[in-house]
């Protein structure tokens, strides 16, 4: 789409929200209210809007991360826990394979010894991996906690109320920082990136999964048509909330495209920054390292 030329990196002042934005005048409060009202229907809406494909995108993010047991992950704007639960599943299965390999090596152990080692490791099914889910919105965290309880996730999971622009964590703490479909809603992206850099350990990885820009002109038109014509309607019919989903679609268009976001990540101090387009750029995963 047409770029808002006067916009500098990190500038999300009201003028930038475009003449067509009839949804809300004030960005920060708007975002908070939007997610307050969408929290309960968030997952249903995600499935409806993306026809379930958002699950695949999140799976791909996890595979790219390829965490090993013992990783400490911070998932920012993680609200309803999608990334956190995938992380736990992933490290659990990696851990399982680790244990199986270990057992295979000890072919000459007695049953007693095998049993004991299995017991010992059973209480460490995550291998000391941990994920902290941080979100600015209480309602989203509430839904996330309920989901965790419902699905049986308890170990290695914690929930923290916090602002991506001012994280309540010490420096150099986390191995991986993820923000999935969250950075788009941050008023000062540059501050969020700086915070990400701060809380990551040296050698830590920054991963961002976010809607991006489709360069193919035909696809771009179809995508725009679907976004503007269908998505607010889905919002009204499923969630009784046209405005929030109109906001969603507009915020996607306002968000920096792939190269620009890459530059912003580099500005925050990250190295080896690259991105992968998913579905022709509808979504992109940006990655960077703190060295």
């Amino acid at each position: 789409g047409a770029e808002l030329g006067a916009r500098t990196a990190g500038d999300r002042s009201p003028e930038c929200w475009g003449l067509n934005c009839i949804s809300f005048p004030c960005p920060f409060f708007a975002v908070y209210q939007v997610f307050e009202s969408v929290a309960k229907k968030y997952d249903v809406m995600n499935d409806s809007m993306t026809l379930g494909i958002h699950r695949v995108w999140k799976d791909i993010l996890m595979h790219k991360m390829n965490p090993c047991p013992g990783t400490l992950l911070l998932d920012v704007a993680g609200g309803t826990g999608d990334i956190a639960f995938r992380f736990i599943n992933y490290v659990r299965s990696v851990r399982q394979r680790q244990l199986q390999r270990k057992l295979k090596q000890h072919q000459n152990l007695s049953w007693q010894e095998i049993f004991e080692s299995y017991q010992k490791d059973k209480f460490n099914s995550l291998g000391d991996s941990q994920v902290v889910v941080c979100d600015i919105n209480r309602e989203m965290l509430k839904v996330g906690k309920q989901k965790a309880q419902h699905l049986g996730y308890s170990e290695g999971l914690s929930w923290v109320l916090g602002n991506a622009e001012e994280l309540p964590f010490d420096d150099d703490k986390f191995d991986v920082y993820t923000i999935a479909f969250g950075i788009r809603n941050v008023t000062r992206i540059d501050l969020a990136l700086q915070e990400a850099y701060r809380v990551l350990k040296p050698g830590g990885r920054f991963l961002c999964l976010e809607f991006s820009h489709v360069s193919n002109p035909l696809l771009s038109r179809l995508y725009d048509l679907y976004s503007f014509q269908v998505i607010p309607v889905l919002g009204e019919v499923i969630a009784g909330d046209w405005r929030s989903y109109q906001y969603l679609v507009e915020s996607i268009r306002q968000f920096p495209p792939q190269e620009e976001l890459k530059a912003m990540i580099e500005d925050a101090g990250f190295f080896k920054v690259n991105y992968d387009n998913l579905n022709f750029g509808i979504v992109a995963i940006h990655s960077g390292f703190k060295l």
Binding site: I22, Q229, V233, E236, V237, G240, W242, R243
Partner: protein
């Protein structure tokens, strides 16, 4: 992508494609989840493009209706003098209306404001139709159970021609028991149709100025036949 101008507070401009999708989506959702009253409202707004101008013209060509369009009265708890209405004699419109609200535990303030009507005057017309709905119940003597609502929908479908009323009248009975369906088909619907056809336009009555009028007299004036003596 539709006009970008908000014509009234709460107005959401929509393109023809969006209206079509909304109409289809809200129809399905209203059938699947009967508690989604907002979907019934959306359906009414997105399909009313022929019926609403008709209604507005009927109002414009009638002296009382014309006054309503000019003065734009709203029926809300804040504008109604409930104490005064309760003090009116039994059988008067005001007394019976308040009795209806109390018996059925409803309030006039739960009516949805219009969102998808792209004309400010037509938005008022549909708002008026919604706010007058409880008075329809009072005039027809129908409670707010499923059977009562269906009967009122039949009457409204004839009176207004709104597709949403027609759909409600046609699909509403699906959830009724056989006994109730029988009463509906043999007594209530024929009466509702006869009354709907015989009655002059119910939106042309300035109800707020007729609280003292006896319900029976208002029925006669409009042309609504006395309700059949069956339990609803």
């Amino acid at each position: 992508m539709g006009g970008w101008h908000q014509l009234y507070p709460g107005h959401i401009p929509t393109s023809p494609l969006q209206k079509a999708l909304l109409a289809a989506g809200s129809a399905v959702m209203a059938l699947c989840d009967p508690y989604r009253h907002d979907m019934v409202a959306v359906l009414g707004e997105t399909t009313g493009c022929l019926a609403l101008p008709n209604l507005r013209d009927k109002m414009k060509n009638h002296p009382e209706g014309y006054r309503i369009l000019q003065e734009r009265p709203r029926i809300r708890l804040s504008t109604l003098d409930m104490a005064r209405l309760q003090g009116l004699p039994d059988g008067s419109l005001g007394r019976e209306y308040v009795r209806f609200l109390e018996d059925n535990k409803v309030s006039p303030d739960t009516r949805m404001p219009p969102k998808f009507v792209d004309d400010e005057e037509l938005a008022y017309v549909i708002q008026r139709y919604r706010e007058v709905h409880d008075l329809m119940h009072t005039l027809l003597g129908m409670p707010t159970n499923m059977l009562g609502e269906v009967v009122v929908k039949w009457f409204e479908a004839i009176q207004t021609g709104l597709p949403m009323c027609v759909l409600g009248a046609a699909f509403g009975p699906v959830r009724l028991s056989t006994r109730k369906l029988q009463v509906l088909a043999t007594e209530l619907v024929p009466w509702a149709i006869r009354s709907g056809l015989n009655s002059s336009c119910v939106l042309n009555i300035y109800y707020e100025q007729r609280w003292e009028q006896p319900v029976e007299s208002l029925r006669e004036e409009l042309g609504i036949f006395p309700p059949p003596a069956v339990p609803v």
